[in-house]
Amino acid sequence: MNITQILFWFLSALTVFSALMVVVSKNPVYSVLWLIFTFFCISGHYIMLNAQFLFIVNIIVYAGAIMVLFLFVIMLMNLNQSSEPKKHRWLRMAGVVAGGCLLLVLVAALKNIDIKKQVAETNTGDIGLIGNLGKVLFNQYVVPFEISSILFLSAMVGTVVIGKKE
């Protein structure tokens, strides 16, 4: 077991643990903080895949912008432990059963695939570097890239429609 593998397992364990804490925490603010921690762990994985650009973007966009939005919403709504609505016991049971079934299916799906052939390119991969990413984005995927501008434009028009004072 070399240093990369040790790092990988350590980061993975940390990611799973913090992701679980997001769900388990009673206080919504703690949940958000754990979520930020999860994003940092995932960014660490990007570094190990030699994808520095994705690492930076993940930190700026997810851990930065989106999480600030989350915190704002939680503060505006003044959520805390006492205001959490009590759910019916049967409803909770149904949720556990449904989620458990999905977990079972996904674990079964992941158990059978042949992972040995598709080892992650730790250290050697270079697709996540900004130059290569740009080449792929503007050659192979230029059409979806341009089309996504329509998506953002429509979202912006929508924001104006909703936000403008009448």
């Binding site: 995927y141 089309i147 329509i150 429509s154 028009v157 429609v161």
Partner: protein
């Protein structure tokens, strides 16, 4: 490709028109002429004249099926603009932006009817969904509209998450986004899990049971003029995407998903029809009716043969045109309950007659387009030679649907009442008559549509 670019361009033009043009008539005229241009460009592309040659790296494939479907959608939208554009003025002050959002939705419709890559499918579905969340909540002072918008947004975002998860799993298994079909054998469990997630998210988008819970609330809460758009054009677009996905990508796995789709179809038919019987408001009844019509369209996904493809196109035309017509009349009324239609025939004999034709078409009475499209669906399922119980069940449910459609006709013709006074201009009336004429003609000559699929 013509339509894809032109709809996006007209979206931008309409967006700019809202501050460049002051008169609402001018904005409306611009939108209608834009729609005519888009339709004409699409028909030209069907004849082989393409304005823009763009290398899409095989991510978008405009074939006869998708081009014909786009034409049907553009004709429906044109009719919708002619009938209902005036009613959008009442919703709020952002008149130009509403048209811009509708053009963006149409851009998403062209994408989701012609994708050849899961990436484009995702973009298409999202470009359809995001403007719709806005349009649902555009009546800002109405609490019900706000609630509907938020509900639609949260559930829609969740189902989009499911779709992305499915796409990720399929990418993990096949290593490609393009929908050339699953060829690996034995099929990996990742593909099956991804397929199920995609199936559930698409079922949500077409409001098939048991993923239909958002439909009645959202359709009821949204401004009626936008409900008309959502329940028709957007719904059939999601169906075409559903069909393309399961035909191109998962066609080889048909034996695996057929039973599940059959069950979803049966549950959708049952819940849609039985719940519609108990509704007191016509608008809510139409929401449940759209669920039950979705059940019939699901039969095309189930069968997935040549009949199913022809049938789905015919069904899109019949369902869109009839539902747009009914909503256009409903918008003129103040009282949306069944009693609101009392003695409507004495007040407005012409409108009542056309509404009757639309309702007969939705119920599937012979000599209307609705009958033939239902016939095509049942023929497609019978053609597979399996699951004959589904055919019998669908016919039974079609009989149930007659009850609630005829309740409106009965109220219009046989009930006494004050009758609401409504203003209907002469062009509005003539457009409705033309629409009813198209529905009857399609019911007699369905080949007018199906011909285009092959020649």
């Amino acid at each position: 490709m013509n339509a894809l670019l032109l709809t996006a361009v007209f979206g931008v033009i309409m967006m700019l028109s809202s501050f460049l043009l002051t008169s609402k008539t001018a904005i409306r005229g611009l939108a209608v002429s834009g729609m005519v241009i888009v339709l004409a460009a699409n028909v030209l592309e069907m004849m082989g004249i393409v304005f823009f040659k763009i290398d899409t790296k095989d991510m978008i494939a405009f074939d006869r099926f998708s081009l014909l479907f786009n034409s049907i959608v553009f004709i429906s939208t044109l009719v919708y603009f002619l009938l209902s554009a005036r009613d959008m003025e009442k919703v709020g002050i952002n008149y130009g932006e509403y048209f811009a959002l509708i053009f963006f939705v149409l851009c998403g419709v062209t994408l989701s009817s012609s994708f050849h890559s899961l990436l484009i499918l995702f973009l298409g579905i999202e470009i359809i969904s995001i403007p719709l969340y806005i349009l649902t909540g555009s009546d800002k002072r109405n609490l019900k509209s706000n609630e509907a918008s938020l509900k639609y947004f949260l559930l829609g975002a969740f189902s989009t998450g499911l779709m992305l998860m499915g796409i990720a799993l399929i990418y993990g298994a096949t290593g490609t986004f393009s929908t050339n079909g699953i060829t690996t054998s034995p099929t990996s469990a990742l593909v099956i899990a991804g397929m199920l997630l995609l199936m559930f998210s698409m079922a949500f988008k077409v409001s098939a049971a048991p993923f239909h819970f958002w439909t009645p609330d959202v359709y009821d809460g949204a401004p009626t003029v936008f409900t008309s758009f959502m329940a028709t054009i957007v719904k059939v677009a999601a169906f075409i995407a559903f069909m393309r996905l399961f035909n191109d990508e998962f066609g080889s796995l048909q034996s695996r998903w057929q039973l599940l789709i059959a069950l979803i179809t049966a549950i959708t038919l049952f819940i849609g029809n039985i719940t519609a019987v108990f509704q007191q408001s016509v608008k809510r009844m139409l929401a449940y009716s759209s669920i039950s019509q979705a059940g019939f369209m699901m039969m095309a996904i189930f069968a997935m043969n040549a009949d199913a493809r022809e049938g789905l196109l015919l069904y899109s035309a019949a369902y869109c045109l009839a539902t747009i017509g009914i909503f256009a009349v409903l918008m003129k009324l103040k009282d949306y309950s069944f009693d609101g239609f009392n003695a409507f025939a004495k007040q407005q004999p012409l409108l009542a007659a056309t509404t009757t034709i639309f309702l007969l078409s939705l119920a599937g009475i012979p000599l209307t387009a609705g009958f033939l499209s239902k016939f095509w669906m049942i023929k497609a399922v019978a053609g597979t030679g399996k699951y004959l119980w589904l055919v019998i069940f669908a016919v039974l449910m079609a009989v149930v649907s007659v009850y609630y459609y005829f309740r409106v006709i009965q109220a219009m013709y046989f009930k006494e009442g004050d009758g609401q006074t409504i203003e209907a201009s002469l062009p509005f009336k003539w457009t409705l008559v033309l629409l009813a004429g198209i529905i009857v003609l399609l019911g007699v000559f369905p080949n007018w549509i199906i011909y285009w699929l092959y020649f």
